[in-house]
Amino acid sequence: MINLTGVENKVFRYYAIYARIYLLPRVAACDIYVICIIAVYNGVEGYVRESEGEEDVAELFHSLNGFEDLEPGYELLTKKGMLAERPSVDRLLPLTHDDFQQFVDDDGRVLDVDLLKQRIFKGGIHPNLRRELWCFLLGHNHWNATYIQREENKREKENLYFTMKQQWKTITLDQESRFCAFKERKSLIEKDVSRTDRNHPFFEGEHNPNVVLLHDILMTYVMYNFDLGYVQGMSDLLAPILYVTQNEATAFWCFVGYMDMVYRNFDMDQSGMKQQLMDVHQIVRVVDPELMSYLEVRDSANFYFCFRWLLVRFKRELNYTSTLRLWEVIWTGHPCPNFHLLVAVALLDTEKNTIMENKFGFTEILKHINDISLRIDLESTLKKAEGIYLQISKSNNVPDSVRKLLGLPIQEPSTSHKEEVVQEAQLLTSDEDGSLSGGLVGVVSSMIGSAVRHLSGDDLTTVSLEAVSSTEQEEAEKKFETALSHQFV
């Protein structure tokens, strides 16, 4: 066993002192740099002397977790095991037709929507009831509509759909030649529908009419939302809906409802996806600091390997049956918003040992994550994800950013610590541009990284300390952002 307290203290103390002194004025970066080298090198020396063998790596990562909460200037050390225990969770059988009847009055109105959604969350929907209930979950039908109103709604929306369908159907090839934006969208759709779920019986074989329907619905969606148009991944989201609803117009409107939930996945600048990757990062940091440290050390804290999971909501990872189940569970919005992020965290939790024991780096993690596709046990993943939610909701020390993500009430600022941070950050940003100060912290910490890399010549030490610096950097940047948003409030 190695004791790293010395290293931690040294690195922290120097970092803290010098970051504090040098954050405000624009000093020559070299000064900080030299000082950091000395500070870190002293620490590294200590470690190199005391280190014995590889099994200490985990210990080392673990002991460095404390750095995650370093603020620019001060504060140290997370509290280990700060989350409540993760409860085990049971799931129910799928909601059947008989079950559903108990929620419906004589005219067809759904009475207790929230309770019904909870029930669906807990067990999903029996396949023969799906077509009806997906229309509710995806906003095609209103929960409080009567049978008659639903029929009317269906007719109206059908008309609207076929009107929009006529719009693109009547664009001639000649028009198309002067309508680039349309042509591009059309060409992308044609390419993608011909390779969407063609192994599934519903879409297989040449000249399959369902493939034509996929095409037509996506083209009509282009007319419905031309600005968003068609983006890869959308055909993956539509195919199961068409399969379940088995009706062109109904599938279209259900798809519209789904897109309303996930349209940020298809942002031109990908900011919605980047945000979600950052959200997963935030949650993993809270739920599993050990895994977080590991990923940071391995240059994998960008969570890009979750990209496909999130973009098409695990569609490529699960077989059809499980995809349908997962989606209806997520659509309920229970037990919290962004439950899909917890599904991702649960999957990472399941793969954690494989990743860490094999010492996977970014490339291997990506490969591994891509390879577990179709080998995921959905029910146990859902149990775990719900367990993580309950665990977070019962814990006191969860950062507001994560609480907000999961719709949990923001806690009163009981610790004066948080306010101090904000004040400090405000102080720092008052005469200097916030991003500049944040950037400087980043420069300092990445310099620590390169200094260590240069001086130690020891891979192990290098990676460990790099983790420290990148975490600090992110934390620091986050705090400044928080401070800035507080200012606007």
Partner: protein, 205 residues
């Protein structure tokens, strides 16, 4: 000596959606073709060991999504590339026109040490189809204008020229890798400004 160590060549395949990036990769690595490959989401890679002259090298071939808006995430995958394969579909003039922007984007995001001499290879795919729309001459001219980029016309479906193209890719990647190695013989210098900055920018979190 450096020549004894295991060599890994990182190759990135870029090009518009549907030009056949995944198919080319699978034809080369698995000797298989399927017209049922799904649109690539995110990124994936396959590896294959090949002999270049008398050296055994491992090629790590990266396949990425072709739609423009997914490029902004490419940087995580482009890093450390030894060769970039630009693909277009000979039946699609637009996919040929995109080669410029794919090349530029790669150079910006991967920022190789010597962008003027970074090895690119261009593949004009789907020559098995009859409705060809980009002439060989036009493609060759483009490659000529970009510092003599090697050009191959391929069919992933019929396995035409795929092996040959990837041999060249491996050879050129290896040449690039060796140059980088020489650069590495000196201890890493500590750079205070630009490199660190670039590293920060690369992480979106």
């Amino acid at each position: 000596m450096a020549s004894r160590k295991k060599i890994l060549l990182k190759v990135i395949i870029l090009g518009d959606s549907g030009v056949g990036k995944t198919s080319l990769m699978n034809q080369f690595v698995n000797k298989k073709f399927s017209n049922q490959y799904k649109a690539t989401i995110g990124a994936d890679f396959l590896t294959k060991e090949v002999m270049v002259d008398d050296r055994l090298v491992t090629m790590q071939i990266w396949d990425t999504a072709g739609q423009e808006r997914f490029q902004s995430l490419g940087v995580a995958f482009y890093r450390g590339a030894d060769c970039c394969v630009l693909c277009y579909d000979v039946t699609s003039p637009n996919s040929f026109k995109s080669l410029d922007s794919w090349r530029d984007e790669f150079l910006i995001q991967a920022s190789p040490r010597d962008p003027d001499h970074f090895p690119f290879v261009v593949l004009g795919n789907k020559i098995d189809l009859e409705n060809r729309a980009v002439s060989t001459k036009r493609a060759q001219q483009w490659c000529h204008s970009k510092n003599e980029v090697p050009y191959f016309e391929t069919s992933a479906k019929e396995a035409i020229n795929v092996e040959l193209a990837f041999q060249t890719i491996a050879r050129n990647a290896l040449a690039q890798e060796s140059e980088v190695d020489i650069g590495h013989e000196f201890p890493d210098q500590i750079k205070l400004s630009n490199d660190n900055k670039a590293k920060q920018d690369a992480c979106s979190c």
